[in-house]
């Protein structure tokens, strides 16, 4: 089990191998479909982004509303591939890890290699369990998007697997090779 601290240091990212189990501590930002569209539009327009992408981790999640007194509601990953058109641009601007569920495109894999970043897979459909690893949450941008707003999360021992590493490796390729189907 590898402990990762976010924001990520380049050396910590490059030593990760597809299939490694990690636990993440520190700050991660939430963003899903509409927030990605806005972030990339802001970059295209030369505007300043509402979050610092250097070494950042973006978690693809739209949580349920927090109960009174709770930090957050259920907060598991959404399907990563919907963010495929946007992730390469954010990686080129300093993003060092994305986290979600499922597969990434060849273009994303190429960007991970080119800039030394990784994609992490966490437990799809385990939003209750994962919420226990989130100890802080505040909206930092695009509040009008509701659940899709960008939140700054403080996470502790957040479990994930390195799905795609910075050397081009993929846990899904490994599984397909092993099962031969």
């Amino acid at each position: 089990m590898i402990e990762l601290r976010a924001p990520l240091a380049d050396n910590d990212v490059r030593r990760l191998k597809a299939g490694d189990e990690v636990v993440l501590c520190g700050v991660v930002y939430t963003a899903r479909d509409m927030a990605h569209k806005r972030l990339c539009a802001a970059l295209d327009d030369g505007q300043e982004l509402p979050i610092d992408l250097n070494g950042a981790v973006i978690y693809f999640v739209g949580p349920t509303p927090a109960r009174p007194g709770a930090v957050i509601g259920a907060a598991g990953p959404t399907t990563s591939s919907r963010m495929d058109p946007f992730s390469p641009k954010l990686i080129a601007h300093g993003l060092r890890a994305t986290m979600g569920k499922g597969y990434r495109s060849d273009e994303v894999r190429q960007a991970l290699k080119e800039y030394g970043a990784v994609h992490l897979a966490t437990l799809g459909g385990a939003g209750a369990l994962l919420s226990k690893h989130i100890v802080g949450a505040e909206i930092v941008a695009y509040e009008d998007l509701g659940t899709e707003a960008i939140r700054r999360l403080e996470v502790v021992d957040f479990p994930a697997v390195v799905a795609y590493d910075a050397a081009g490796g993929s846990v899904y390729d490994m599984i397909r090779d092993r099962s031969g189907v």
Binding site: M34, V61, G62, P63, T64, P65, A66, R67, G73, A74, A75, G76, T78, T79, S80, S81, K101, G102, Y103, A121, L123, G124, G125, A126, G127, A128, L129, S131, K132, G146, T147, P159, V161, V171, Y172, M174, I175, R176, R178, S179, G180, V181
Partner: protein, 287 residues
């Protein structure tokens, strides 16, 4: 004739929405436990144990099972001897209104995510209520009202597919395509799946049947021997893919395959596959 008030329909839908999103059905839990006990891959067994942990935390600590509390799909089977009536203020309310009022109240009081946008293409502004629900109404014999609520996640719904086959194909060709659909869904759609299959009818009915198939219990094979065998052979073929829990490898890619069929045109063989994630959230009440 029995009269059931719309308010009772709303209250029932409200409580079904909340129960569905917090309590994993017993048959799903049992299937996950059985799969965990059989898994030959330790990593996959660990993932299944985490999913069971998640269900326990959700029920005990009142945190939804999954943050995607779904588009609400409601099946209403109305007995022919039941009259639905507004016992309150407004004689213009319909069954659809009553169901939507229940969904709105359930998603608000249950701290569930509102995941519905009003216009699919132009603006995509969230309605803020998780309504409108998708409501399927049918008339059946009897004096009961049966309401089933499914909280259907977007990630798995996105991987569902439809195909029109030539009517002369062998059953094996249909089965091979169903396995391909599941393989393509893979890690994206939160395996282990429940795979709903609708065969026959026409374009829209096959899709509806594939959704309806998901409501049959995981321990209840198809009553017809041909389709019961097809369900069990498909499950074996899907689990031989090695996709595994959450796509991270293993023996458990699906918990069950459920097939529903309908008569169809001589020229047609429509087949629909509705992928459902392991968080198979549905509850039924009979009034």
């Amino acid at each position: 004739m029995r009269t059931i008030g719309f308010e009772q329909v709303s209250r029932t839908v409200e409580s079904l929405c909340i129960a569905a999103c917090y309590e994993l059905p017993d048959d799903v839990r049992a299937a996950l436990e059985a799969a965990a006990a059989k898994e030959s891959h330790p990593a996959a067994a660990k993932v299944l144990a985490q999913l069971l942990d998640n269900a326990r935390i959700a029920a005990d600590e009142r945190i939804p099972l999954c943050q995607d509390t779904g588009l609400t799909v409601v099946f209403v089977e109305q007995g022919a001897d039941v009259t639905l009536a507004d016992t309150g203020r407004n004689d213009r309310i319909t069954l659809i209104d009553a169901v939507n009022e229940g969904v709105r109240a359930g998603y608000e009081k249950g701290f569930l995510r509102k995941s519905v946008v009003a216009d699919p293409l132009n603006g995509r502004v969230n309605t803020g209520t998780n309504t409108p629900a998708i409501v399927h109404h049918s008339l059946v014999a009897g004096d009961r009202l049966r309401i089933s609520v499914m909280a259907k996640g977007g990630g798995c719904e996105n991987k569902s597919q439809f195909r029109m086959f030539r009517p002369t194909v062998e059953a094996s060709e249909v089965a091979d395509w169903i396995v391909e659909v599941v393989k393509a869904a893979g890690a994206d759609a939160c395996p282990p799946f429940v795979v709903g299959v609708g065969i026959g009818g026409n374009f829209e009915l096959s899709c509806l049947l594939s959704k309806k198939a998901l409501l049959r219990g995981l321990a209840e094979p198809h009553p017809n021997a041909f389709y019961a065998q097809m369900e069990s052979e498909l499950l074996a073929a899907i689990n031989a893919l090695g996709v595994g829990p959450l796509g991270l490898g293993g023996d458990t890619t699906a918990l069950a395959v459920r097939i529903e069929t309908a008569p169809c045109h001589i020229a047609s063989l429509p087949v629909a596959v509705n992928i459902e994630c392991h968080s198979h959230r549905h509850k039924t009440a009979i009034l």
